[in-house]
Symmetry: C2
């Protein structure tokens, strides 16, 4: 079964913002942004159940934020940084920027 991935020109801003609006999903994206090498979903330390984790990866994939590729028994995940930068310039950089500390 092949996994659904929207094409770059199909990415919708509201869907991407929604995908990024959850703390656990934002954490996945932050981790992926640090290392471009695809990595197994199970390698993320998330504070949620396996089924919730699977849900989060699906939301990110269907919004076009991440790509997932089945390799043997593993599902490898990577950030679609170039696609996101092309479609929504500056968005990912702003979201991933360190939040300024409270004054």
């Amino acid at each position: 079964m092949s996994l659904y991935h929207p094409a770059t020109e199909q990415l919708e801003l509201t869907a991407v913002l929604h995908a990024l609006s959850d703390p656990q999903r934002l954490r996945i994206v932050r981790e992926l942004s640090l290392d471009p090498a695809p990595r197994p979903c199970g390698s993320f330390e998330l504070e949620v159940s396996k089924s919730t984790s699977t849900h989060h990866f699906r939301v990110l994939r269907e919004a076009g934020v991440i790509a997932q590729q089945e390799v043997g028994t593993a599902r490898l995940t990577s950030l679609r940084r170039e696609d996101l930068d092309e479609r929504f310039p500056g968005l990912l950089d702003a979201v991933l920027a360190p939040v300024s500390a409270p004054a």
Copy 2:
């Protein structure tokens, strides 16, 4: 009754992203970004019911995206652009940028 508004340093990225992740709310923010003068909630042409509209304005206000001020019988709305730019540099600009047309 005074309306709740989070302080600038309390703004949370995920709450702001969530507030911006709805097409109607994004439309409100786009309209507010075009004219800094506070305007009545009723002046936005939204394709939703009055109660849904009130909900959308509340989500935006509680996330710190907009400010609402009771003036007489009107509730005036304005974009918290400076607060958002201070806390999440580049985010609002990226969200409000025109989306590149499909190739």
